[in-house]
């Protein structure tokens, strides 16, 4: 293997060699923490604050995040870390040598959608920061700066990611400081407004206390399940499973509920989850500047990691395997930049609902991967078959598609929406006892297991014989 090939390995979807996987636990933790901490933490906290008070909400959200992270780790973790491959390549044993385009589409839409939102947040925060620092005057023409700043951010991200995973790690090393700024903001609010915080009543709480509590848990599970598209590209840089468990469970799962407490506390006490608004009330303009710096840094770090994961995922398409890394980055960044330039406000207003619907697919996806790896294949994955698309290969199934995975994914999504409509929050009677993500993952896992018995009987899928 040449040095040039090694240097480009983290820019491909091919498996990484042991000597190329040099991220230790500390480096992985920093990268995952920087990736996880972003503006969405406030939104998650605000959502929980609609139904639960500070302590109940914080504990329900924290528990939900840890449970969701465990599901993601069990689903994508084993295959990604054993062979040094990304989340999308790890779906080929389940979805087939062509059917993987379904999870790839979910990943692309989810990451590009979220990154577009975050980069618009970034641009807006940067404008607000410039006003607060006196660089810009307050005025309507500042809105025109959002597209320009979006382009600037995309250009910087592009330049950083020319270095592949090293660029992600480099950004994380610098921006991880924002996590501590977030903790300081939380301390500030909690220490100064504790009596009000404890007494605050959630505005949209249902009369069913169990429903409120379960919704707090569900929001936590859902938030961390949406890390599935990101996680493979990061953990494949670590040498083995031993290295990834604590960084994923603590570095990625813990910052989300902790920083979400900022949004939760702000929405309960000051009726605003956005710390750039309430820090000005609590501590004056200087605190607002610190907060805006936090928001700007947080979203930049997450977007960098997201663009990287998405670009690696696209490498799985045969047509893009031979393209240069620069081309791939441009393909990934272009939609984000175009959204930020042409339709930032429209996207802000409408795309959240679409992302909520896309999010329901990650619980069943995890259920399918877990049962496939641990039950049906008992850990036996054919790395060569992951990259071979031919009728005699085990992951070819029928025309490259495994119908069992498609049926199971549909069954899981249907179960989720039946238990809890992610847009209207209408639910059915068992929801308060079971959540929606866990039955969805279970339904998909059971469906996949049963239909895979038929697939196995037909001699497809390369499942090990008992």
């Amino acid at each position: 293997m040449t040095t040039r090939a090694n240097a480009q390995a983290d820019e491909s979807a091919w498996p990484l060699l042991p000597e190329e996987r040099r991220w230790g636990a500390a480096r992985l933790t920093l990268t995952l923490a920087t990736t996880a901490a972003a503006t969405w933490c406030y939104l998650i906290g605000e959502s929980v604050g609609s139904y639960l008070g500070f302590i109940k909400g914080g504990l329900a959200l924290g528990a939900g995040c840890m449970i969701g992270m465990l599901l993601v780790l069990l689903a994508a973790g084993p295959t990604c870390v054993r062979f040094g491959i990304d989340s999308i390549a790890a779906t080929k044993p389940q979805f087939g040598s062509r059917g993987w385009v379904v999870p790839a589409a979910l990943q692309a839409v989810s990451i590009i959608g979220w990154n577009s939102l975050l980069i618009i947040f970034f641009a807006k925060s940067a404008v607000q920061l410039s006003v607060a620092l006196g660089i810009l005057d307050l005025g309507p023409r500042n809105a025109a700066l959002v597209p320009a700043l979006t382009v600037l951010a995309c250009t910087i991200i592009f330049a950083v990611l020319r270095r592949g995973a090293t660029g992600v790690s480099m950004v994380s090393n610098i921006l991880v400081a924002h996590v501590f700024i977030g903790l300081w903001m939380l301390y500030l609010l909690v220490s100064r407004r504790w009596p009000e915080l404890i007494a605050a009543q959630p505005p949209n709480a249902s009369s069913n206390h169990l429903w409120n509590y379960t919704t707090g848990i569900e929001l936590g599970i859902g938030a961390t399940l949406s890390w599935w598209p990101y996680i493979g590209a990061m953990i494949r840089m670590a040498p083995n499973g031993r290295t990834i468990v604590l960084p994923v469970m603590l570095g990625m799962a813990a910052p989300v509920p902790i920083l979400s407490l900022i949004g939760l506390a702000g929405s309960l006490v000051l009726k605003s989850s956005d710390p750039t608004e309430w820090l000005r009330i609590v501590g004056g303009p200087a605190y607002a500047i610190v907060s805006l710096t936090f928001v700007t840094a947080a979203n930049f770090g997450t977007t960098t990691a997201g663009i990287y994961a998405s670009a690696v995922g696209l490498r799985n398409f045969a047509a893009l395997q031979e393209r240069t890394w620069t081309t791939l980055l441009l393909i990934t960044i272009a939609p984000v930049a175009l959204v930020g330039i042409f339709i930032p406000e429209l996207f802000f207003a409408k795309f959240g609902n679409f992302l909520a619907l896309i999010g329901v697919a990650f619980a069943p996806l995890c259920g399918i991967q877990i049962v496939d790896y641990f039950v049906l294949r008992r850990g036996r994955i054919d790395i060569r078959a992951i990259y071979a698309d031919a009728p005699d290969q085990p992951y070819y199934f029928w025309r490259g598609i495994n119908p069992a995975a498609m049926i199971a994914l549909a069954a899981g999504c249907f179960t989720y929406i039946a238990f809890l409509n992610p847009l209207s929050y209408r639910s059915i009677a068992p929801y308060p006892y079971l959540t929606a993500s866990l039955p969805s993952a279970t339904a998909a896992a059971l469906t996949y297991f049963l239909t895979s018995l038929l697939v196995n009987r037909a001699g497809r899928g390369g499942y090990p014989r008992p």
């Binding site: 390995a9 504990l59 973790g77 084993p78 469970m249 799962a253």
Partner: protein, 62 residues
């Protein structure tokens, strides 16, 4: 005119690109990288099951 003889060999998969082939061969030679060891499973149970259950119990009675 006779029918062409069918090969008894199984159809071969198209060859992988040589750099990928070399990469997979190197991974196969290096042997199986373990997924999770005992301590990994223990941490997953503690952080993904035990602590969340304790948090849920504490939150419910808070």
């Amino acid at each position: 005119m006779t029918e062409p003889a069918h090969s008894n060999l199984a159809p071969q998969a198209p060859a992988l690109p040589p750099p990928l082939e070399a990469r997979i061969a190197a991974i196969e030679i290096a042997g199986r990288t373990p997924d999770f060891d005992t301590s990994g499973w223990l941490w997953m149970i503690v952080l993904g099951v035990v602590i969340p259950l304790m948090m849920l119990a504490a939150g419910w009675w808070a």
